[in-house]
């Protein structure tokens, strides 16, 4: 098995030293960094996501895979950039709605998207509608993703969507909502563009 195959099959085992070792060996064998990413790391993450969907992998495996992926990218990215890149505007903006302080779901989504090279801006927790609107106006993201764990704070989704309309920005951004009490029916009823059941599904949709 060559290094790329080892990276792909062993990423789920969570041994960061081993995977980074294979990356180094591959580089020493003059493999292209882009090939290491596209034939080793990305398929490995995809395999983890497939196993997640099948109920065979769980959050620790997804997280450790993403963590190792990010560590490998730190090694590979400087070798892949041939010209100076301007700061990339965020493609996706995340936040937990006003009054809600829970962030694990949001953080999982962002970690997975970043591991796929998607630029993400985190507004944190307890984010007011006007703060979401200002961020959309400033950064022009493709997606605004909002999270809520509590039934008492879910109305933050509707308030933000209304605020986007009032600011003339509703048709400039796609709105995604998620969190434990959120259902597809509820998301549709408030006019959200996207709902996914979990972080892996979101990363596959947006990634």
């Amino acid at each position: 098995m060559n290094e790329l195959e080892k990276i792909r099959t062993e990423l789920i085992d969570g041994d960061e030293d081993a995977i980074l070792g294979y990356v180094e060996e591959a580089l020493q064998e003059q493999m292209e960094p882009k090939a290491i990413l596209e034939q080793g790391l990305l398929p490995g993450m995809n395999d983890i996501a497939d196993k997640w969907a099948a109920g065979e992998a769980f959050i620790p495996e997804v997280l450790i895979g993403a963590k190792i992926m990010n560590a490998a990218m730190e090694r590979l990215e400087p070798l892949m950039v041939t010209e100076e890149k301007a700061d990339e505007p965020p493609r996706v903006i995340f936040g937990t709605v006003q009054g809600d302080l829970h962030d694990i779901g949001k953080n999982l989504c962002m970690l997975l998207l970043r591991s796929q090279g998607v630029s993400v801006l985190d507004l944190g927790v307890d984010v007011a509608p006007e703060t979401f609107v200002e961020a959309v106006a400033t950064h022009h993201p493709e997606y605004l993703c909002m999270s809520s764990l509590l039934t008492t704070t879910m109305d933050g989704f509707e308030k933000t969507i209304e605020a986007l309309k009032e600011a003339g920005l509703r048709d400039k951004v796609k709105v995604a909502v998620g969190g434990a009490p959120v259902t597809p029916e509820y998301a549709k009823s408030i006019g959200a563009d996207l709902y996914t059941e979990d972080a892996v599904q979101l990363s596959r949709t947006l990634g």
Binding site: H102, T151, A180
Partner: protein, 357 residues
């Protein structure tokens, strides 16, 4: 009073699988009156007086929140610990205390010593009803308090020895509390929460759970049972894949079998009779947003699913801590309907003024 609460023995019968006259009802643990509006507090206090709980839960006094390094009690409740821990408005509760292991070593050099501490401060006199000593967080929830959720989930791979060390320390504390509870006949059970379930699926694989948490729970349940105590576990979310191990570990009662996360019928088909269920009325949809009739119908569903098959091993409550957005009429409808659907009115109780003694 509109009903006669269970005696201690009736509650023990319920938990251990002997037939009872109705399902037990014990909601006080999950309703913190001081966090609700005043009107709601008054209405619920009247409800409690009319329908006294069959089980009372009291908090074990925890060590004081963290003070200075080297303090005698300096391992729990990290939130007031180190002012230099990065805490910004943007960091939420799931990651708030995400400290490094180096900081953890500095702030928790010693375990608290419960000797000489009145762990039962504020507990009322025993009135003959079944009592539970509530210990708060188990080992899985405990590691979050230090490391944040994201780190904790990865620690299972990157720092297994550290994860085990937190388990060991939690076990030492729990056993000391059990010893004091049992020695003073203070309670009939211990209880604690450890949230292994997400809305869909558990946080970790059953294999990983077996490695890190099953041994803890087995040892704890064996220890508690050897001292005559039941063990109650709160584990919200979808823990279906772990129920086999919960039962094998020896838990006596499991809360809440969360609606929409778990299939109540499937749970009863596979595990009915093997463990007592502290079945929680839904707090995500029905109680906060449903009508009173919706609530009554759900009561019928829960009774028919959990209690009717064996007429035992069922305790009703709400599925998590009650938020203030739940209409008080719905809580009243829930409690009144459980009794109406299973026991009917008991006029004698109102006259007799019976307690559970």
């Amino acid at each position: 009073m509109k009903t006669v609460p269970f005696t201690r023995q009736e509650m023990i019968d319920c938990i251990e699988g002997r037939p009872t006259r109705r399902p037990a009802v014990a909601i006080g643990t999950w309703i913190h009156l001081d966090q609700l509006s005043e009107d709601k507090q008054r209405r619920l206090e009247k409800l409690y007086a009319d329908y006294p709980f069959d089980m009372e839960a009291f908090y074990i006094k925890k060590p004081a929140t963290f003070g200075q390094p080297g303090d005698r009690f300096c391992w729990c409740d990290v939130k007031d610990a180190d002012p230099h821990i990065g805490r910004t408005k943007s960091v939420g509760v799931d990651e708030e205390n995400a400290i490094s292991w180096e900081v953890y070593d500095q702030i928790t050099p010693e375990l608290p010593d419960p000797a000489g501490v009145d762990l039962f401060e504020g507990w009322p006199e025993d009135d003959g009803r079944y009592r539970m000593a509530w210990l708060s967080y188990g080992p899985w929830s405990r590691i979050w308090e230090y490391r944040g959720m994201t780190n904790s989930l990865m620690d299972l791979y990157t720092d297994p020895a550290r994860v085990q060390s937190i388990n060991d320390r939690t076990m030492r504390w729990f056993k000391e509390v059990i010893d004091q509870v049992a020695a003073g006949h203070r309670a009939d059970a211990i209880g604690f929460g450890d949230d292994h379930g997400m809305q869909k699926g558990p946080f970790m694989s059953p294999k990983m759970f077996r490695k890190f948490y099953f041994p803890f729970y087995k040892e704890l349940c064996d220890y508690a049972h050897s001292r005559g105590l039941h063990v109650w576990l709160h584990c919200c979310g979808d823990a279906m894949k772990l129920l086999d191990q919960f039962i094998l570990a020896g838990f006596d009662v499991l809360h809440p079998i969360q609606k929409y996360a778990m299939d109540e019928t499937a749970v009863m088909e596979k595990y009915g009779g093997k463990i007592a269920f502290w079945s929680g009325m839904d707090l995500q949809q029905i109680l906060p947003f449903g009508s009173q009739e919706d609530v009554r119908q759900e009561v019928h569903h829960l009774v028919d699913t959990f209690y009717a098959p064996q007429k035992t091993r069922t305790i009703f409550t709400v599925s998590n801590r009650l938020e203030d957005n739940v209409p008080v009429e719905n809580i009243e409808a829930f409690i009144q309907e459980v009794y109406a659907y299973t026991e009917g009115p008991t006029p004698a109780a109102a006259d007799a003024g019976c307690t559970g003694a």
